[in-house]
Subunit: 286 residues, 2 copies
């Protein structure tokens, strides 16, 4: 497995892939791998000849009060896991390679970014769109893979790729969960034992809504109400948002017609967790 | 010469160029060609195997009170001139191809865009950066060519290309002038005969400053003063800005040390003309 720290190194790797007439897949990550990341890498390996994983804790997508400094990092472990998952090259640039002095350009995706996590984390998606745009231009993959857990991120990046005519496909890969339903996240390590015991309520609340939809419920307010009731019953859970919005434009909905995104963000102490499901549809509708 | 109206058509053309192991140059334009455009095309032909010219009057870079509607257009004439200049493919997308419904993404280049034309035309460089980013992603050229007349545009696009890791080179090509020194511009057709007679004062004022620099003057205020005095002596000239700024960061300067940009924008009636020169250096310093 190649470990590349500069733009020139990773481009040289991808050039060789292309020269063999092969395709390259990119899995952009912030590292500290869990089964969710590994599932993205394995999926990339299924549909692309060569798999590149980027590891970069992107300062641009963290707010000033957020957890950039304490975000968990473990490169040695990540490299070993990536190699095991069949990754061909890891791109792990220093911050100065990504944001050299004088850096002044940002990519803004409008509309989609004013709600859900975009409302709670101003500037977050600007940071995401900018770094992902850079990674796409650096690696020039045929296809890039993102987890459904960050559903809004998938929609924002798809919108950016379409609007800026980026020559690649964006694939959303299903969320991987712990045995008790908690969505895998690098931030789960922040949870204390009590919070960890309470956190599966998020997935349970999503399942509750799915059941109601299967039973014929189409009213967004009632579905949202059921989710809220479930979550607020859990010890220490503080709701940031619970919303049902249209796909792919994230417009507010009162009634479910086609597939819709039920997304939530909930704090347990200082730790903010997100999860979502596509009601009345599946991951392929994301 | 190929005439392509869709992303797929122009990409198919460039794919063929690449398959032959050849390089592609892009000259992004808004059409209504003059000798300045043709010189960009000829320069592209000197250094690239295949030359693509895009023609798109980009609504995003015009302010609400500006001349988008009346901006001159003549596709038949442009196509004939491009063919004569050795262009291999013209990309002339309808507005709906560039900005389909739901379009929501913009590229913002900070700092460089708050001064000079960026101060007079809010949103202009956001529109330029966005459309040029799209054109780069659509055509994927090895090299793109821009006129020195739009010096700030060159610097903004270079900054964008570096910051977003776009895999191409940006080349600035010297301004082409009428016999009396007026910089070629599609907007020169707006000038009435009296304004046209007065307009060469812009170039004369730049030459005046160059002469002063050759004679040893390094004080930016005195150089600017000489330019202003020259221009305000011309009938009907209304100065928008005359400024001397550092290269490539466009910081205000009090004293010339290295090469510096002397840039100006002047209105004759409703017509706004721009021009510039690199003091104490040459085009290669842009």
């Amino acid at each position: 497995m190649h470990i590349c720290r500069t733009v020139e190194e990773i481009r040289a790797f991808v050039r060789l892939v292309r020269a063999r007439g092969q395709t390259a897949g990119l899995v952009p990550t912030m590292g500290y791998f869990h089964q969710g990341h590994l599932s993205l890498m394995r999926r990339a390996g299924e549909v692309c000849d060569a798999v590149v994983v980027s590891i970069f804790v992107n300062p641009l997508q963290f707010g000033p009060q957020e957890d950039f400094e304490r975000y968990p990092r473990d490169f040695e472990r990540d490299a070993a896991l990536a190699e095991e998952a069949g990754v061909d090259a890891v791109f792990v640039p220093p911050a100065l390679v990504m944001y050299p002095p004088g850096f002044a350009t940002h990519v803004e995706v409008g509309r989609l970014t004013g709600c859900l996590c975009g409302a709670s984390r101003p500037g977050h998606f600007r940071g995401v769109a900018t770094v992902v745009n850079k990674l796409f231009n650096i690696v020039q993959p045929d296809r890039a893979f993102f987890g459904q857990k960050d559903a809004q991120q998938v929609l924002v990046i798809r919108r950016m790729a379409a609007d800026l005519n980026l020559p690649l496909e964006i694939e959303a890969v299903p969320t991987v969960r712990e045995a008790d339903g908690l969505a895998m996240s690098s931030r789960n390590v922040y949870l204390d034992p009590e919070q960890r015991r309470a956190a599966p309520v998020l997935y349970q609340s999503l399942q509750e809504a799915e059941k109601l939809v299967q039973a014929g419920e189409r009213n967004a307010a009632r579905l949202r109400g059921a989710v809220l009731e479930k979550i607020t019953g859990a010890p220490g859970a503080q709701v940031d948002y619970v919303e049902i919005r249209s796909l792919p434009d994230l417009e507010p909905l009162t009634e479910l017609r086609g597939p819709a995104l039920l997304a939530l963000a909930v704090r347990f102490g200082a730790t903010r967790l997100i999860d979502n499901t596509v009601l009345n549809g599946g991951v392929s509708d994301l």
